[in-house]
Structure formats: C-alpha cells, structure tokens
C-alpha cells in the first residue's frame, strides 16, 4: 500500500466512469492534436519551398498559364542562374480519390535547380533518357507500392485521356520537409501528346538565384518588367508561393484554434464534473481519513493526484494515438503540404493543456475535500 496505490485504488472505484472520462480526455486530446497538426503543418508548408528560388506565375492566378517565351528574358536577368518551368497535370490514378501532385517539367533545366532530389545516377539517367519516364518520391512509391520499371496510367483531368508512364527513378528528399509525394515527368511528353498545342504555355517558372538576398529585388524587377504586358506576372520566393496555398483556406488558424479550444473546454467540463462527483461520493471516506490523522495537505494531494492521473492517462492515449496515426501515417493535402504530423510544439502545448485540465478539474474538489469538516461529514455517515 502506497500513496500512489491509494490514488489508483480511488480511480477504480467507478471503473466505467473512470474509463469513460479517460476516453473522453483521450479523444479530446486526439482531436485537438489533429487540428493543431493541420495548423502547424500548414504553417510549416513554407519550409517546403526555398528562399533561394523564385516562382513566377500569372498574376491573375495559378491556374492561368504564362508564355514560355518569357524564359529567355528571365534567364538574362542579373542574379538569375537558371530558369525552368513546370506544369500542373492534375491526373488521377485508377480512381479519382487517388489524387496527388504531378508536375510536367523541363527536366534538363529543372533538376539542376533542385539539389533536394536525391537518387542513384543510373536512375537519373534512365529518367532523362525516356520521354514517358516518371520520377516519383519515395513516399508516393510506397503509398501505391510502385516499383522501378513499372508502368502506371494516369487519367488526365485537365489534359484528357489516359497517360501511361514508366517509373524510372525514385527520389529521396535531400532535406527535411521537402515533399516525397510528388510525381514529375517530362514536359515534352505533354507537348508531344497534344501536337504542340500547349507548347507555348507553361504553368510557372522557377528561377535559381546566385544570391538569395537579392530575391525581393529580382522579383520586383520581373513583375515590373511584365506589368504592362498582356500577361503580367507575380513573382515570389518558393516559400512564399507555398504559403500562398495556405492563404486559400482563409483565416484557418483562427478557425482551427477556436474549435480546438472548444473541444478542450468541453472535456474540461466533463472531467471537472467527474472529479466533483467522485469527491462528493467520498465525503465520508475523506472524513474517516482525517479522523485517522491524515492532514489537509495529504487529502488535497490525493484528490488532485487523481485528477492528474485521469488527465495523464487520457493525454497519453490521445497523444500516443495522434503520433501513431499522423507521424507514422501519411497525409499530404494532395501534395500541397508536407505530411501531416504532430509537431514538437504541439506536444508541449498538449502537455500544458493536460496539466491545466488536471488543475482546473481537480483543484476545487481537492480544496473542498481538504477543508472538509470531519464532524459534519461523519454526522451524515451516522
């Protein structure tokens, strides 16, 4: 028999209620972490991109193309080391729900701008040497169980028809948060398929810079250059470009935070009610313990410890579940953001919430138990 044993024994008093409360806390923590993970992942999505690369797009919107003819002018700008381009393909694999990011690229100029693509040299050569070849991220290959040499067929949504590709290379991300769930293929394949119909239009340009500190100046210079043209541009760093996707969701941070806090508050009420009920039921026992010589502080600590134990177990389950589902699972918002994961700062926030939950639900019952008038309480027993 120990103090801890006493706390645990008290928890077993109403097993079903204790289990339900713990599950309630666990689910609330899981939901909170889910919302937080969406939020932090979106916040971190800027890290997908680089500050040393610029993205040039149509100023009207990302779905509108740019003339490929801009390439020569862009390449001539001071501070621009390389220019390439990509096109959003928007195909689905077998079923519409199997959607992921696919980009048609000019591989000769695109890959040198991205040292993040890490792959064996023979795979790189195999990809470069075949028009219908595809380069896929490790995560994407694992998601669908793809192997090198396998032919897959995508159904085009923007570019109609069935599009067969042969997987010739699988890349590993060369740095954290660089997406490994994207498929790249040759722009020339797209161009050829439509008999040159789309050959003078591309989605976005990507520019490699010799000096990233000049990014803002060069971006402003490019946009000024095309300000009065038929197709004006919007140029920003790749990081800012990625964060722009988050902006599409509106003030999602406020929305997610509000729901998260509402969930936590709801479970706080449940936990507080449970502790209050548990405390009320034990009035005679607390009186007996005081009669045996247990002091106010001991009683206070025992009741509060019970609230902490409920919160601790619930939080451990919720946090463990979230880590299991998100950090081991994969969710990538169709390739726009890196895989959904519970961030370290979310774990710290959750632990703080768990402690707050325990304090808020246990403090009042603990104080009441500690201040219990033994004679009054025993009169009820008798």
């Amino acid at each position: 028999m120990t103090r801890t044993g006493l706390v645990v024994a008290n928890l077993r008093r109403r097993r079903r209620r204790a289990v339900l409360t713990i599950l309630g806390v666990a689910i609330a923590i899981f939901l909170f972490l889910t919302l937080r993970s969406v939020l932090t992942t979106l916040e971190d999505s800027g890290e997908v991109g680089s500050e040393s690369r610029l993205i040039v797009r149509n100023s009207i919107g990302i779905v509108f193309p740019l003339p490929i003819g801009y390439r020569t002018r862009l390449l001539s700008l001071d501070g621009v080391e390389g220019v390439s381009w990509s096109n959003w393909f928007g195909g689905t694999y077998i079923e519409p729900r199997n959607f992921f990011a696919q980009l048609a690229i000019d591989a000769q100029t695109y890959l040198p701008l991205y040292p993040e693509f890490v792959m064996p040299e023979e795979q790189r050569r195999a990809f470069m040497g075949e028009r219908t070849a595809a380069l896929v991220g490790r995560g994407l290959a694992e998601r669908f169980g793809w192997q090198l040499g396998q032919t897959i067929t995508l159904r085009g949504t923007i570019y109609p028809g069935d599009w067969p590709f042969t997987i010739r290379a699988i890349y590993e991300p060369g740095r954290d948060r660089f997406p490994d769930n994207v498929m790249y293929f040759h722009f020339a394949y797209l161009e050829q398929a439509f008999g040159g119909a789309y050959s003078d239009e591309i989605g976005t340009f990507v520019l490699g810079l010799s000096d990233p500190t000049r990014a803002a100046d060069i971006a402003a210079q490019i946009d000024a250059l095309y300000e009065n043209s038929a197709v004006p541009t919007k140029t920003e760093t790749e990081s800012a470009y990625q964060l722009g996707f988050v902006g599409l969701f509106g003030n999602i941070g406020f929305f997610l935070n509000t729901i998260g806090m509402a969930v936590v508050f709801a479970i706080l009420l449940v936990a507080a009610n449970t502790m209050a009920m548990s405390s009320r039921e034990r009035v005679p026992e607390v009186a007996v313990m005081k009669m045996l010589g247990f002091g106010d502080r001991f009683i206070f600590s025992i009741v509060l410890a019970e609230a902490f134990l409920i919160s601790l177990i619930g939080t451990a389950l919720g946090l463990g579940g979230a880590l299991l589902v998100f950090n081991l699972g994969r969710f990538d918002a169709l390739g726009f953001v890196p895989g959904l994961a519970v961030a370290g700062r979310s774990v710290l926030l959750t632990l703080a919430i768990a402690a707050g939950l325990a304090l808020a639900s246990g403090l009042f019952p603990a104080r009441r138990a500690a201040r219990l008038n033994v004679i009054e309480a025993l009169r009820h027993v008798a």
Binding site: M1, P284, E285, L292, G293, I375, A382
Partner: protein, 227 residues
Amino acid sequence: MALVQVRNVDKVFRRDSEEITVFKGLAIDIAEGEFLALMGPSGSGKTTLLNMLAGLDQPTTGSIEIAGENIAAMKRRRLAEWRATNVGFIFQLYNLIPVLTALQNVELPLLLTRLSRRERRERAVTALRIVGLEDRSDHFPRQLSGGQEQRTGIARAIVTDPRLILADEPTGDLDAKAAAEILDLLQRLNRDFGKTVIMVTHDPNAAERAGRTLHLEKGVLLEAVRS
C-alpha cells in the same frame, strides 16, 4: 496520573443566534489501561465528548489533557499528527475504504509513519492476526460480514499502537453474536495489551464489559457507577 484529564470543559454550539450548551464545567479523569463505557440518551453529548477526546472538536473553554498534552490548545495540523499516533478510532458503521482490501485498510494509517513498505505490511498483518482476520487480508469490505468488517476496523485502530482507543457504538450495527465477539476483542485489547478504551454505547450489556460506566444526561455527568 490519569491518561485523560478533562477539566472545566464548556462546550457551546451556536446556531444562528441561538446558543446550545452541551457541557458546562465537565470534568473526567480516565486512568491509563481503563475500559470506560459512556452511556446516555441521544443528544446527551456522548459523541461530542468522544470527538473532543479525539481532537476532532475543541471545547469552548477548559482543557483536555491526554498523556500530558493539552489537545484543546493544539492547532488543526498538529492535532492531525497527534491523532495519527495517539488515538485509534472505531466507528459504528466500520467506515472501511471500499476500494481497499482488509490489509490495505489496516495499513492505511501507517502511510503517515516513516515505516518502510515492508514494515507497514508486517504491522498490518500482525494487527489482522490479533483480530483473527489474517486469512481475510485480501478480501474487500463488501466480501466481509459485518462482524469481520468491524474487526478490520479494530485492526486499523490498533495498527499504529495508540494508547487510547475510542469506540463509537462499535456493536450498534451487529447481531448479538458478532457484538459479543467485538466486545471480547475490546476487552482483550484492554486486558492483554493495556489499551485505554473509551466506548460510547446504548447497550447496557456492552457497557457491562467495561470496568467503569459513566452516564451522560443532557451534557451533565449524572452518575458514575463502578462495576
């Protein structure tokens, strides 16, 4: 010298503007090793006196000295510490903790001591052996009969080896056979272990087991009868 010395104790309860005097100038001496029965009708002040002797309630005026310490002057925290080592309490309704086994219930007061886990367990087992419940140590209160629950309560009261045992109608909820066993046990604790026992009871048969019986009538010690 008496173990318990109650001197000039007044006890007044206030309810709103009304004052209810329970004791006026109460004085009692209880010798160490004595078995005292307190009798009297409901409202006579038996339980109030017992509560004051346990340090749960304090007199309005006067002193209560137990083993030379005036507990009437002690602060709440000090009283709790004093109670843990000097008083064993036996309740009419046993008041065992339902989620603890008999052994754990008996061991509970020892959590307040510096004894090791093993020592606590050994002492609890010894206390259960004294009350004849060693073989029920793993049973929860709901698995025990009323008499067994009360014996567990007695084991809990003696596990800290207190000099004073206070019993509030310890047989009030038991049948005649179980009551007799409990009274036998209390007598044995008094006789063989030298414990000072103060027992509140309505039952004259129970009171007969005590060495001395005091009658309380409306807070006044009307009669003191030596058996």
